[in-house]
């Protein structure tokens, strides 16, 4: 059986079998090699996509952390709120970590991939911060956010991706520049409204002289009358002598209530001064001091003439009485006392009225001269001479007339779209006019700076505890209606209509047409942002600084870490 079932293999069959074995072995080797190759490629591709996903996850972590930082830096009481508002006395930065729970959720949801976010948080570091100009409380800087994500690629292989993202931040004051936030009104150039006048002082001298004269004369005249009457009483019938109306004489000779001129009232304004006010409320009409005084002065002049005439008439009468028939002329002279005293009363009244105008002015406005003036003017020049680029650097939003067909519409869209609107808006409008009309409920804390003309009318904020609005214009500012904002026309100001009402403050460089200066101003104490010194900000109200981040990262870099 064995012999029949055996197959003989000759040499050719052996070769075939050998070749078959070699081919099969080669196929096996090729197959294994191919498998290993594909495995390797799969792993590499997998690692590559895992790396991409790790980068995506890192990006998610960065976005999430920035969202939290963006909110926390503007939440009073939060640690970041203080850190980003500390005065930047040096360029040294600081660091902190931000947990990112949402990104962690995404990582946990990737069931088919194994990711790990280092420390389950993003490392944040302020690389540097620098103040704008010399203002230590207004600054800008760069925040670096780093997230490291590790993915397990299988066979012990790990893919690490680190994303570094840099973001610009700005910390700006969202009220009127200091120290003008403490003033309800400031007028740098008072010419055209308050002209230093010698005339007022001259009037004062005349009034003072008349008062002094009357004060001296009246008791003397009265005594003379009494003496005359006493001497004549003996010659009169008893019933007549008893009925002499002494009380009427007393009344006639009573000195009218004349006030002495107080030395503190600035009848004569110094030539080198600035005008400011810290009053809670003021009528802009009070600024027309000399116009108002001039009207009263006309009455004073008339009263002075009347007093002089009456005085002369009385003198003449008395002289005549003493020389001629004293009995006959006495009654006539007594009658002449009345016009004189009445003219003095009128003079006194006018004088008091004029004093009250001055007093009202003095109660409302203060003048700064000498060192005080130099100090405040130094701040004003800084305010006024700030270059456009200064505001542009600080601005969170820039509206450019070259890029916006309709500036006014663009501004309206801005405050409608980004509500609440915070920070600084700089409007580059050298030729066009920005018109801000009828904003019934502005929300936010905003400083609007225009390089050109601006027209403001009927603007109010939604919620005074939260919302604050300031307009600064380096072109002409035209105002009308009710405006709840602090205003800083650094060039010219014009008031339209007679119903202007400002709730905020007004910092003026000059008034071109004083006749237009009318309306009422109520100081909004909320605009006061506190004070600082180069070394301390303990008296500063830090909620008046707003921190904003740029909408896009200024730089991003992905790093492969240790794979």
């Amino acid at each position: 059986m064995t012999g029949h079932s055996r197959v003989r293999l000759n040499s050719r069959g052996g070769i075939f079998l050998t070749l078959l074995v070699i081919v099969l072995a080669s196929l096996a080797i090729l197959g294994i090699y191919n498998y290993r190759l594909v495995e390797r490629v799969t792993l590499d591709v997998g690692a590559s996509t895992l790396g991409d996903n790790a980068s995506f996850t890192a990006q998610s972590a960065i976005d999430e952390s920035l969202a939290y930082i963006s909110q926390r830096v503007n939440q009073p009481g939060d640690e970041l709120f203080s850190l980003f508002r500390d005065q930047a006395t040096s360029s040294e930065g600081f660091g902190f970590t931000i947990p990112v729970p949402r990104t962690r959720e995404i990582i946990e949801n990737y069931s088919f991939m194994d990711y790990l976010l280092h420390n389950e948080s993003v490392q944040a570091e302020v690389l540097f911060q620098k103040s704008y100009g010399k203002l230590p409380y207004e600054k800008f800087g760069t925040l670096k956010l780093s997230a490291i994500v590790t993915a397990r690629a299988g066979f012990g292989r790990r893919v690490h991706r680190r994303l570094d993202s840099r973001h610009e931040f700005k910390t700006v004051l969202i009220g009127p520049p200091r120290p003008f936030d403490q003033l309800s009104f400031y007028l740098h150039d008072y010419r055209g409204i308050l002209n230093p006048s010698e005339g007022d002082q001259s009037d004062n001298n005349k009034i003072q002289s008349s008062i002094d004269d009357l004060s001296t004369r009246l008791p003397g005249i009265r005594q003379a009358y009494v003496d005359i009457l006493e001497s004549m009483k003996k010659e009169w019938p008893p019933e007549t002598a008893e009925n002499i109306p002494y009380d009427q004489l007393e009344q006639l000779f009573t000195q009218p209530p004349l006030e002495a001129l107080p030395s503190t009232v600035p009848f004569l304004f110094p030539r080198d001064m600035v005008l400011y006010s810290q009053a809670e409320a003021l009528d802009l009409d009070q600024l027309h001091l000399q116009k108002r005084v001039r009207l009263i002065s006309a009455g004073i002049q008339q009263a002075l003439v009347n007093a002089k005439v009456a005085n002369l008439a009385l003198d003449a009468c008395l002289l005549l009485s003493l020389k001629k028939d004293i009995k006959k002329n006495l009654q006539k002279c007594i009658i002449l006392i009345k016009p004189m005293t009445l003219s003095m009363v009128e003079l006194s009244k006018k004088h008091t009225e004029r004093l009250n105008v001055y007093r009202g002015f003095q109660d409302t406005f203060q003048i700064a001269t000498g060192d005080q003036k130099s100090k405040i003017v130094k701040y004003f020049y800084k305010y006024k001479s700030r270059e456009k680029s200064f505001w542009e650097k600080k601005a969170f939003y820039v509206l450019d007339e070259e890029k916006q067909l309709d500036l006014s519409k663009a501004f309206e869209e801005l405050i409608t779209r980004y509500t609440p609107t915070n920070g600084v808006v700089f409007v580059k409008n050298p030729t066009k006019t920005l018109r801000v009309h009828s904003i019934p409920q502005f929300e936010g804390k905003l400083v609007v700076v225009t390089s050109g003309k601006v027209v403001l009318q009927n603007i109010s904020v939604k919620s005074p505890p939260q919302d604050l609005l300031t307009f600064i214009s380096y072109g002409k500012m035209k105002l009308g209606g009710s405006i709840q904002a602090s205003l800083g026309p650094m060039s010219e100001m014009e008031i339209a209509g007679t119903d202007l009402r400002i709730d905020g403050n007004l910092v003026l460089d000059r008034v071109i047409n004083p006749e237009d200066l009318k309306g009422v101003l109520s100081y909004d104490p909320r605009i006061a942002s506190g004070t600082t010194s180069p070394d301390s900000d303990s008296n500063a109200k830090k909620s008046y600084y707003y921190v904003g981040f740029g909408p896009r990262a200024i730089a991003k870099s992905f790093h492969r870490v240790g794979d």
Binding site: V7, I32, V38, S60, Q75, E443
Partner: protein
């Protein structure tokens, strides 16, 4: 003979003689059919996993190709939508009146290339991008889900998804607090 065996050629001859003697003793024989069949079976059995590995590699390679393709598409879709403003994302909803804060946004990606489409089931490719607002923190999540299916009733749907958190870019500029 023994002496000859110590002399060159003689030794070789003697050795050959031993071989011849062995062959003669054993008789003329080869592999039996059973041996050959067994050998071939073993070889085939050995080759089977190898073939399977090749098949698996091919499948894997094909799968990887679509996996990578899906990844690239997902990344492109995410990047495209992440470029939109946060507020605009909700306006991209396929539904004119989205009922919740989760909206499926319109997919503006280019159509699937023919070379990829050809190898799939006729309706074997789906792309979906969903945007959802996460709470009130100014955060949102974009989720791209791509599904594909090869021809054949047994072929499962394979899917690839990618998620990314996006934030309102102007979030820091619109915060409200009391002075």
């Amino acid at each position: 003979m023994i002496q000859d065996s110590f002399r060159g050629v003689g030794i070789r001859l003697k050795v050959m003689d031993v071989g011849t003697m062995y062959k003669r003793a054993m008789g003329p024989r080869g592999f039996t059919l059973a041996e050959i069949l067994l050998a071939i079976t073993i070889l085939v059995l050995c080759l089977f996993p190898v073939m399977q590995m090749l098949q698996s590699s091919s499948t894997k390679s094909s799968f990887n190709e679509y996996y990578v393709f899906a990844h690239i598409r997902a990344v492109s879709i995410l990047d495209a939508y992440a470029g939109y403003a946060f507020e605009e994302l909700t306006t991209l909803s396929l539904s004119p009146t989205p009922s919740s804060n989760i909206v499926e946004v319109a997919n503006s990606m280019s159509p699937l290339p023919e070379e990829y489409k050809r190898r799939l089931d006729p309706d074997g490719w789906e792309e979906k991008c969903v945007f959802s607002v996460l709470g009130t923190d100014g955060l949102g999540k974009l989720r791209v889900l791509i599904r594909w299916k090869f021809p054949g009733p047994q072929q499962p749907w394979r899917e690839y998804q990618l998620e990314r958190i996006v934030m309102r870019r102007n979030l820091s500029l619109v915060q409200q607090y009391n002075l």
